[in-house]
Symmetry: none
Subunit: 187 residues, 4 copies
């Protein structure tokens, strides 16, 4: 792990705990065990650190979700745990993603990163699905992606915000929904 990554990792750790604007460059330097000055060798300013972090987190998210959609599409529909739907790695980044989303409402560049990421995710998903099921049109696939990601977002937010347990009766509904969305999945 080079210096730049070391600093970014420290920034992520701090910002997960305290948020973007509650984290000082001092904090990051301490966490990364480098001097403040060095941070400015690698990143023009704090803004640039946040941008790099957002890009990084979002890319990891895309990779995870790509794998995730595929997994859901092919797994047995009878889930038993919400954790089956939203993997822990995704969820552990969600706090950062909420920060990112808040930030995106005020910061054009962050907003663009998010839009691009979603576009990429969508394209990947459609390509994959069309390879698997050449008979479907892009629109129908897009809708599936949309529904799935709605649910996933919802679960994530729910868990984070209210830390409520998932209703035990939820799974049958979810299974039915997935069945609607992926009628081809094995019963």
């Amino acid at each position: 792990m080079n210096r730049s990554e070391q600093i970014l990792a420290a920034a992520e750790q701090c910002m997960r705990l305290k948020g973007f604007h509650q984290t000082s460059v001092q904090n990051i330097a301490q966490q990364a065990d480098v001097s403040i000055g060095l941070i400015y060798k690698y990143y023009k300013n704090k803004e640039a650190i946040i941008e790099a972090l957002v890009t990084n987190v979002v890319q990891r998210m895309i990779t995870l979700l790509n794998a995730d959609f595929e997994r859901i599409a092919h797994m047995d529909v009878h889930y038993h745990q919400a954790e089956d739907i939203v993997p822990v790695e995704v969820e552990s980044s969600i706090i950062l993603l909420m920060e990112v989303s808040s930030e995106a409402t005020r910061n054009q560049r962050i907003q663009q990163i998010m839009k691009d990421a979603w576009q990429e995710l969508k394209n990947n998903f459609i390509t994959q699905e069309q390879q698997r099921h050449p008979e479907q049109d892009a629109n129908a696939i897009h809708t599936r992606l949309y529904v799935m990601s709605l649910i996933i977002d919802g679960i994530i937010i729910r868990r984070c915000m209210k830390q409520a347990d998932i209703s035990p009766d939820f799974m049958p509904f979810f299974n039915a929904m997935v069945n609607d969305v992926y009628p081809h999945a094995p019963a």
Copy 2:
């Protein structure tokens, strides 16, 4: 509107735009057109303003969502617009709610406010539903609430974060889902 409310309204306006920690007490004083000193007469510190604001926003949210669930439960299932599902008033507060959620991960008191609110919302909903359909058990109702709020959260987040339009094919799926969740709703 008394002084205290006037200050809180100013705080909300500022914090919607800039976030909790990017908003200074000076900003709020200017927006509320009162002196800084007066703000400290009504609120112990900035933390107290944020807490009051969170409580306030969350309460308004509960009121809206209470009305909303009832509306969804009884309206014709054939929606045509995502706006039918998530009212604009709810959405306009979502940015604040994301801030709140971020804050909640670091601030025990905020977290408690959120938990209490969700509990209240759930209880209200279950009570209402049981009055309408005495034959259902609380668990099943709870599940319905959960699924609906998942979807709603998902739609909100989606709109805010990625500003993606809702897929045109989404509505049939949504209608089917609502039908599963509210099998008694008029077709």
Copy 3:
């Protein structure tokens, strides 16, 4: 003397000794015996302090030089001391004026302040002279002002830079020159 003037006076004192950019806001605060924060209540930033100081010094300079030209024009031409030509008050500001001039080469706003001041000085002088000697044209007066100010600038710079004493034989030359420039002055 109000707060704003108190800060400006402290800034002047510091900047005379250390120059614009070697003077920290901390220094000014200490000298003025106020907190750093208060300085920023009265001046947007350090740049604004410098601008205010320049304007202030230049205005005092104009007042002095206005009086000075008039004095030279009417005094007996047989001077004995360079101090007769350039009053001490003017000279004591010259270090600041050198700073100002350096600054002016990089800072458009400072440059404009200097230009405006010289224009004002010139206009004042021409008006005065024309009242005293209505037969003269503005051009000739302008030339006199120019020659006088050249000499004055030269003396000032000389004294500051090299701290050389004035040549004892200089005065007869100077007298002759003034006589050329002001042929009407009493011999």
Copy 4:
């Protein structure tokens, strides 16, 4: 041009534009296209660079002014352009010289460099003049040098600070003055 000169040339270029204290060692390294470390091989610290630069500039100035006084002393007194009096090379260094002068008020070593230079200039001039006109005494020559340099300084400062054009009627006065100072010059 060796390394040391290359660095000094880069320092001069930067400091003409930004001033001594607004120029960073990093700036100089970049301009000179050498590493920061190398600069500290040739110069103990930034102070030493400034001193070397001042010495260098002042020496070039002396050479120019030596030539200049001689030129003025022997040229036809009927000048037409201020540029004839103060050569462009001199003027282009004036911004640096103002910096130097400001610096000299705070820095003993710089002040000494300036004094020594002026002494050298004076001695050279007197030696030259006495060779040309053995009948004159040193005092009278000194006075001439003084008057000439006053005027020259004045013109320079005037042009830099106020960027005022020279009054068109100035030249006859200047010619008359030079005639006073150098009565032996060809008419």
